[in-house]
């Protein structure tokens, strides 16, 4: 098979060219302050290619923060449905294997009891270009969940750094192959691999817990005092869930005047106090640790019952954004230890 390479400047040029096309949506890494965000680009967006990991995940490219699902007008003749914005072909550049690994998980969810055609159509039209990892930090734990710093799951093209200035492009899917063939001019250079380019191996991110053992403990310990101990400092915002590549809860809101309206699918989060509040005023998850317990239990237990996979890719984003100091890896490791004790 042919080998494909692309330089940083050609990648920038390619993304800018695609982003100038109003028929497409392109997402790439943009710097703000000390951090990088995967952001929607236009032809003028300044890309940042020198970063460890973006604050947000690639989620919002495919599952937008908000999205109209119904528009209508009231006429004397009756209700008239208005056109929704078309779902355009997408290119998403700059996630890591822990971002892309969320794609099959989310696909299972959005094609489960109801086929969410907004998500599924975007998924059909997206090309996901992933950067294999060259760096890690103490929050990374993809290998504990079957992932890898150079994993291909969910990507269409995987870029592996071979020189300071460029990557080798690995075709992962048919969509990826088609993308490279269509834009072959950008992938023609041959880059001689340089020595000393860092490459992260699986063993560089040691496995830190066993997820099946974690699940077993969660199933039996809903009322365990550990939950309160590890998550009482959670102050119940949605930062962790909104940067998470696999958190997928949404709310439906209506915005209407007398004669027209729009119904919107809108991100929501189990960590927010209002999420489970009943009309009566009762809240079955009234305390912050109870809400955080839900977040962990959903990912590490309930989701497995439904889809046979942990709904976490080990990207560590939730821990990085949490300024209340709630750290998912610490908590899951603690649970694993408790579970081990129970096995003896």
């Amino acid at each position: 098979m042919a080998e494909y390479y692309i330089t940083q400047s050609k990648m920038t040029a390619l993304l800018k060219e695609l982003a100038s096309d109003s028929g497409m949506e392109v997402f790439g890494p943009v710097k703000k302050g000390n951090d990088v965000f995967i952001s929607k680009m236009d032809g003028k967006t300044e890309l940042c290619l020198d970063y460890f990991i973006s604050v947000n995940s690639i989620k919002e490219a495919i599952f937008p923060r908000f999205e109209p699902i119904l528009k209508y007008k009231l006429r004397s003749e009756g209700v008239e449905l208005a056109e929704l914005p078309p779902i355009k072909p997408l290119v998403v550049f700059g996630g890591h294997p822990c971002d892309a690994a969320s794609i099959p998980l989310m696909k299972d969810l959005f094609s489960w009891d109801y086929k969410d055609h907004f998500y599924l159509q975007r998924l059909e039209k997206v090309v996901i270009i992933t950067l294999a990892c060259v760096e890690k930090d103490e929050n990374c734990f993809c290998t504990s969940l079957g992932g890898s710093p150079h994993g291909e799951t969910g990507s269409d093209i995987l870029l592996e750094r071979v020189s300071k200035d460029g990557w080798q492009a690995k075709i992962v899917s048919e969509k990826g192959k088609k993308f490279i063939e269509t834009h072959l001019d950008f992938f023609r250079d041959t880059i001689t691999p340089e020595k000393g380019i860092p490459k992260l191996q699986d063993k560089d991110i040691p496995v830190m817990f066993q997820s099946d053992r974690v699940k077993k403990w969660i199933e039996k310990n809903f009322d365990h005092p550990l939950w309160e101990e590890v998550a009482s400092n959670c102050w119940s915002c949605a930062a962790c869930t909104y940067v998470c590549p696999t958190c997928h809860c949404f709310d439906i809101t209506d915005d209407a005047t007398m004669w027209e309206g729009v119904r919107t699918k809108n991100w929501d989060a189990c960590t927010l106090p209002f999420f489970t509040k009943h009309a009566s005023g009762h809240n079955p998850r009234s305390q912050s640790y109870e809400r955080y317990r839900q977040r962990i239990s959903h990912k590490y237990s309930y989701y497995i019952d439904l889809f046979n996979h942990v709904s976490c890719t080990g990207c560590g984003r939730c821990s990085r954004v949490c300024k209340a100091g709630v750290n998912i890896l610490d908590i899951v490791k603690r649970i694993d230890e408790e579970s081990k004790k129970g096995e003896k």
């Binding site: 923060r65 400092n233 102050w235 915002c237 949605a238 809101t253 919107t264 300024k323 209340a324 100091g325």
Partner: protein, 284 residues
């Protein structure tokens, strides 16, 4: 920090408090909140320049409010927010034990150098506490010197159109996670304005309309109340410079009402009181 651990153990052992909220270390250069319920946990307590969290924010939580007495480790700046909770009748003084820490400065949110907020601090030594720990720190600014935030100058120099463009760009990143609200010690409404949904008062979509409405409403609700702890901006995952809004309103409160929030629990915040001598040149 033996003093702190000793005091904490004393409070827990004597059952004077049901819970103590303090700091524990989080890596070499970091600290995070710690909930202490027994003497063993108290061993982990620390206090240093990495203790950025304003722990007073936990006092607004229903489960914490339900306790008989709670101790909280607080810097002077954090105590200013406690003073606001007192003057707004949100906490009972007897239900809280303040362990005031003297503090020269804390680090900036990115961990490099002195935090900007410390350069305008007038309470390096706690002004209201049940016990003060740490060596006294010389105050650098006189109590009656009006506040001025240098970073506002750039914003104020912009034309209206430039400011509009600036905020459009900044607020476009808001994902409506409400970390600002949850971290804020003074955002204590049992039902937030964004949670009024029959009908929806504030657009919950993170579109320009929703994001402007949310962030401006929050800033206005904090007018004359914000004590410049900077937590909203620090916890914002989208790096939005929220303190520009809050500081701008702090300067307004200073200019219009000669008011700085959080120093005197006996005084009344300008927006909750009426004084005949207030000039009303803003009513035209």
């Amino acid at each position: 920090m033996q003093e702190l651990v000793k005091k904490a153990k004393e409070l827990i052992e004597s059952k004077e408090v049901d819970l103590l909220i303090g700091y524990q270390s989080d890596g070499e250069k970091g600290a995070k909140p710690l909930f202490v319920k027994n003497t063993q946990q108290a061993e982990k307590l620390i206090f240093n320049q990495y203790c950025l969290n304003n722990l007073v924010t936990y006092l607004k939580r229903p489960d914490v409010k339900a306790l008989k007495k709670v101790a909280v480790v607080a810097k002077g700046c954090d105590i200013r927010s406690f003073v606001m909770l007192l003057s707004e009748n949100q906490v009972s003084r007897d239900a809280i034990f303040i362990i005031g820490m003297t503090c020269d400065h804390v680090v900036s949110p990115d961990g490099t150098g002195e935090n900007e907020k410390c350069t305008t601090c007038k309470v390096h030594n706690p002004h209201l506490a049940d016990v003060v720990l740490g060596a006294p720190v010389p105050e650098k600014i006189a109590k009656d010197k009006p506040v001025h935030y240098a970073q506002l100058e750039k914003l104020n120099a912009m034309s209206q159109e430039e400011r509009w463009a600036f905020w459009q760009e900044e607020l476009s990143r808001c994902i409506r996670c409400y970390a600002c609200r949850q971290a804020c010690p003074l955002c204590y409404c049992e039902r937030c304005i964004v949670d009024f949904n029959t009908p929806q008062w504030i657009d919950t979509r993170s579109n320009p309309r929703g994001n402007f409405a949310w962030n401006i409403v929050r800033a206005l609700h904090l007018a004359g109340r914000c004590i410049n702890c900077g937590e909203c901006e620090r916890v914002c995952p989208a790096n939005i410079p929220l303190m520009l809004l809050n500081q701008s309103l702090q300067e307004e409160a200073q200019e219009k009402f000669a008011w700085e929030a959080g120093y005197d629990p006996e005084s009344q915040p300008p927006l909750t009181t009426f004084r005949k001598e207030d000039d009303e040149d803003f009513i035209r």
